[in-house]
């Protein structure tokens, strides 16, 4: 019993249901052995001086099989709880039968009664144990009545039955009490280990909740800060557009007025204009981040958009660009202006990733699995360190000396708003590959609702 308890406590997991204890196993095993031995002895006695097999042999055989069967069930713990009491009564009747066959009240087989009594004390409660002791005594006395000479039971037989009744009752009470203590001890330790498990689970749950809460708080703070930054950046960007527009007008006027006469002046004016364009691109990203425009998607030829983009964004010196445009590309369902902005951003990132020169490969293809259009931008730059890969689409994350870290955030939003996706793949020393997946135009009819809730939730 102690070993079972220890095992239960040690296992520490969900406690197994209360089935069969070591004590019960011992009693069940003893019952089988004792009964079979008694039956064998009985059969042996019966066989002496008798040649043909009689009905008695058959009965003993059936009883032996019954004993073996019930013993196996008990040892495996497969007995139905409701059958325990009837089986005990059957055992007592069996013992009574053996005693009757083996010579009545003076037979030593009366000791077999202790088996069901012991079993009752170990497997059932105190009341049932006492009841089985009393029943055994009664049955024993009944044997005495039926086998005694005439109807009178001799004093010796009475003493024998009385002694048995007293010792059986005492034994039943003793073992039942002992067993009750043992059971309650086991139950308590099982409960305690269950409590400990529950406590540990609660503790883990609490830790998890605390972690989630901290994460949520961090997210909220970041989100609030971003919203504030976005608001500020948006209004600043808007205010900057007017003076930039004036500067661009001045550049235009100067180019017309004096640019034709002096090549150096013309170059300076072009430089001014180019710088204004850079500012304007930054402002466009800021405004997009702060107050995203609504997408107005339409069926568009991605190959054409890519070709135009590359034509208007020639690679810097030392960088070559290679286009691999897919044949029979389906039309994509995109906002031309916004997707142009996305491609422009990725392409410029690729150029900037290769200050020492390299190659950009732009590949368009139709995607079989998602039935969409796929555009890949692969550069031969140093790639992105794996630690940065996860954060590359986070706002305000940048590894460039110049830049505010909004480009890819805005790209991701723009693409997702149009039902597409953007991902980055990077192998050490192989450069980075950005993949943009877009919906094809045929889906448009079913999913027009999508564009209504286009705005990101930040």
């Amino acid at each position: 019993m102690a070993s079972t308890t220890a095992a239960t406590a040690k296992s520490g997991s969900i406690a197994t249901p209360f089935t069969i204890t070591t004590a019960e196993r011992c009693v069940a095993f003893s019952r089988g052995v004792v009964f079979l031995t008694s039956l064998a002895m009985l059969e042996g006695e019966a066989l002496i001086g008798r040649q043909p097999l009689s009905l008695l042999d058959a009965v003993i055989l059936v009883v032996a099989l019954y004993v073996v069967g019930t013993a196996i069930l008990s040892l495996l713990g497969r007995e139905r709880p409701g059958l325990q009491l009837p089986l005990l009564v059957a055992d007592m009747l069996l013992v009574t039968g053996i005693i009757y066959l083996a010579g009545g009240i003076y037979s030593e087989y009366y000791l077999l009664y202790y088996v069901p009594i012991l079993q009752a004390s170990v497997r059932l409660n105190f009341r049932d144990a006492i009841a089985s002791a009393i029943l055994s005594s009664g049955l024993y006395m009944a044997v005495g009545l039926s086998t005694g000479p005439d109807t009178l039971i001799p004093v010796k037989a009475q003493l024998r039955a009385g002694t048995f009744a007293a010792s059986a009752t005492f034994m039943a009470a003793f073992f039942a009490l002992l067993n009750r203590e043992a059971r309650s001890y086991m139950e308590r330790s099982r409960e305690m280990s269950e409590l400990a498990d529950a406590l540990a689970a609660k503790n883990r749950e609490l830790q998890e909740k605390t972690r989630q809460l901290a994460e949520a708080q961090e997210y909220l703070v970041a989100r609030e800060r971003l919203a504030a930054i976005g608001e500020l950046a948006g209004s600043v960007g808007h205010e900057l557009r007017n003076p930039l527009g004036v500067i661009r007008n001045v550049a235009y006027y100067l180019r017309k007025q004096v640019g034709g006469e002096d090549a150096d002046v013309a170059e300076m004016i072009d430089l001014m204009d180019a710088q204004v364009s850079i500012c304007d691109r930054t402002i466009a990203a800021l405004l997009d981040f702060a107050r995203p425009e609504r997408a107005s998607p339409e069926p568009a030829d991605i190959n054409q958009i890519v070709t135009e983009l590359v034509a208007s964004n020639p690679p810097p010196t030392g960088v070559t660009i290679r286009l691999a445009l897919g044949h029979d590309l389906p039309l994509a369902y995109v906002d031309r202006h916004q997707i142009g902005e996305v491609f422009d951003n990725i392409l410029c990132n690729a150029y900037q990733a290769m200050p020492g020169g390299g190659e950009v490969r732009v590949r368009t293809s139709s995607e079989v699995e998602t039935d969409g259009v796929c555009v890949e931008f692969a550069d031969t730059g140093p790639g992105i360190p794996s630690g940065n890969l996860a954060r590359i689409f986070d706002p305000l994350f940048t590894t460039k000396a110049k830049g505010i870290g909004l480009g890819l955030v805005v790209c991701k939003r723009l693409v997702e708003r149009q039902g597409g996706g953007i991902s980055v793949h990077c192998e050490a020393g192989q450069g980075a590959t950005f993949t943009v997946r877009l919906r094809r135009a045929e889906e448009e009819a079913n999913e027009t609702d999508d564009q209504a809730d286009g705005g990101p939730d930040c």
Binding site: H238, R241, N242, P243, L244, G245, V246, R248, N249, V250, Y252, Y253, K256, Q257, V276, D280, L287, R291, E293, R294
Partner: protein
């Protein structure tokens, strides 16, 4: 014949002095007449006394918005071609443009070449119409 020689009258409405000056210089350089107003009411004053062929009106202004100005100008001079200029693509600007009977929206920073093309196209159409009138 006298009408044909009149230069195209362009109205610029913008509360930014730099924008008004640079657009004036650029457009005048092409030989057109430029009127500049810093807000809607000043624009309406000009429109009350001058014939305007084409107008470029900033959307975001103190007082009357670009849309309101357009509506009022359209009532005064239905012949004038009206364009709203905006620094930012917004549904409001687009609605104002539609409501004011405007010919279109121009986004800032302005594409000056396009702006000048709009003016010369307008001038060409005016000359064609005048030629037809002469013919009758």
């Amino acid at each position: 014949m006298r009408l044909m020689t009149r230069p195209t009258a362009v109205l610029i409405v913008d509360d930014d002095a730099g924008m008004r000056l640079t657009l004036r210089r650029i457009i005048e350089r092409e030989g057109h007449t430029v009127f500049a107003a810093q807000d809607g009411s000043e624009a309406l004053d000009i429109a009350a006394r001058e014939a305007i062929d084409i107008a470029f009106i900033d959307h975001k202004m103190v007082g009357m918005t670009g849309g309101d100005t357009c509506t009022a100008l359209h009532r005064l001079q239905p012949e004038a071609e009206l364009y709203v200029m905006t620094a930012y693509v917004s549904p409001e600007a687009a609605e104002a443009a539609v409501a004011g009977g405007t010919a279109g929206i121009l986004y800032k920073p302005l594409d000056i070449d396009r702006l000048l093309t709009l003016i010369t196209d307008r001038a060409a159409r005016r000359r064609e119409r005048n030629a037809e009138k002469e013919g009758h």
